[in-house]
Amino acid sequence: MASVTINNVRKSYGKTEVVHGVSLDIKDGAFVVLLGPSGCGKSTLLRVIAGLEPITSGDISIGGTVVNTLHPKDRNIAMVFQNYALYAHMTVYDNMAFSMQLKKLPKDEIKKKVDWAASILNLTPYLDRQPKQLSGGQRQRVAMGRAIVRDPAVFLFDEPLSNLDAKLRVQMRTEIKELHHKLSTTVVYVTHDQIEAMTMADTIVVLRDGVIEQVGKPLEIYDHPANLFVAEFIGSPSMNILSGEVASENGVPVVQSNGIALPLPMSAKVAAGQKVKFGVRPEHLRPTLGGAGFPAKVSVVEPTGPEIHIYADVGTQEICAITQERLELAPGADIRLVPELSRIHLFDPASGQIIGT
């Protein structure tokens, strides 16, 4: 078990820099998820922690030791890959025992450890099989078994669930989380799937183009995005963003956008005439058939079961609202949308940063 400290790490391939000075503290026993769209440098960051790629500058320490130039084998890490990377010519048992056999540990100790890992991962009946005789989920469990038998300082997961089907993914998600509770080893987990990130992480690190955009607890990031990118990236359907200008209407601050006035809380730190981007999550827009709120025209209605997603046009812009009420709405209907004042976000259009409300 160990903490991981990344200090101003840069990584270039040739002349292209893909990680631009990232600093991050990962506490001992934490479950940290690196989240971001493709090409944001999250996998690269994981690979430099593992030592599979050298860093261009900066420092990486694992458990207080700087490991910049250490070979992966000397870093006491275990990595689980997206495509499992099992040794196809070995049985499940040998796959898990491989590294210990090479270290010439006593046979009974190896057996004890493999049996322990197999029982945690429900792999005991499959120990004599070859990887090709296993299903995707079982293969991924073998890959995790291979990692946990070594009792490493840090687990590194590189999109381990991407190759599994949706149902299995949900199941494995829970299993990995349980595993972390049992072992409480530090985990660094890379994914582009925000649901995985939200459900599993203690701390989410949102990355874009090789830069950390925000670090925080899952709900903190969801409820208080630091900037436009995080606001739009986290959440599905994503946050509605409306561009406009701050004005005052009857002494109440509003944002004039697309010909409507969006109300602001009195506490908003904005001045009249200031250009802003007004953000509100779909579930914080309450659709009503009359009265308060701003007008919109329904374009698409998507019932998902627990809730209904309503896509509506405001001026030229389409926005989304989510409700649990069973509203009978047809495309073309006129509705009014009421934003929840305490849950709105204002962003500076130039920098994209949040403005306090």
Binding site: Y87, F98, Q130
Partner: protein, 275 residues
Amino acid sequence: MNRRASTFAVHAILAAYTLLALFPIFLILINSVKSRTAIFGSPLSLPGPDTFSLVGYQKVFSDSQVPLYFFNSVLVTVVTIALVLIIGAMAAWALTEYGFKGATLLKLYLSIGIMVPIRLGSVAILKLIVGMGLVNTWTGLILVYTAQGLPLSVFILSEFVGQIPKDLKEAGRAEGVSEYQIFVYVILPLLRPAMATVAVFSMIPVWNDLWFPLLLAPGNGAQTITLGIQQFIGEYVTDWNAVLAALSVAIIPVLVLYVVFSRQLIRGLTAGAVK
């Protein structure tokens, strides 16, 4: 229907080619058990009760040198294949896995060896071997044959090493396995089919070669079987019985080696490694 016709055509062509390729061997085999007059009288007919004769085999096996020649050939071939495979795999791994400076250039340089026949350098090789005092030794032959087989070996194995999923090597690395151990325990087992291919390709020319034994090891008990057979071919009289019998026997070891290697040519060895 169309598909069946084309399958049939393919098989017909392949069967015809097989017959063509096997015919000389068939001729050697049937004539090796015929009497001398029958060989010349009707070389294409099968041995009958009148023409059947094992005189060739008797001569070959009564010659005390032949077992030695056999041993020499087998030894030279097996050691050469072993060296070609081990060194070739190591070179392929190094050239493919570690993109060091000049790796591509080195690969190109090595592939020249595939295009330029090693016999062009016979004079230089002979000088070199004489200079090193390796004339009439197994070592001399093995070194030359290893050099002859390596370019193709490195070339083919590089391709296969390149196809081994990157994650497998990295999984090993992340697991605390050293580079040597990754090569031996992860890469080599996965290269088995490729190595069998290389072995088959490099074995036949070495076994069949007459040129280098003639140049580098013509005497002193280091002769190979191809050279040994030459003793039955005289300037004025050739003992065809013995030549054909010796040739027939010489097919056996290479056939055995082929069977051994071809069993390794299993496809899909990486199935289940990665999705």
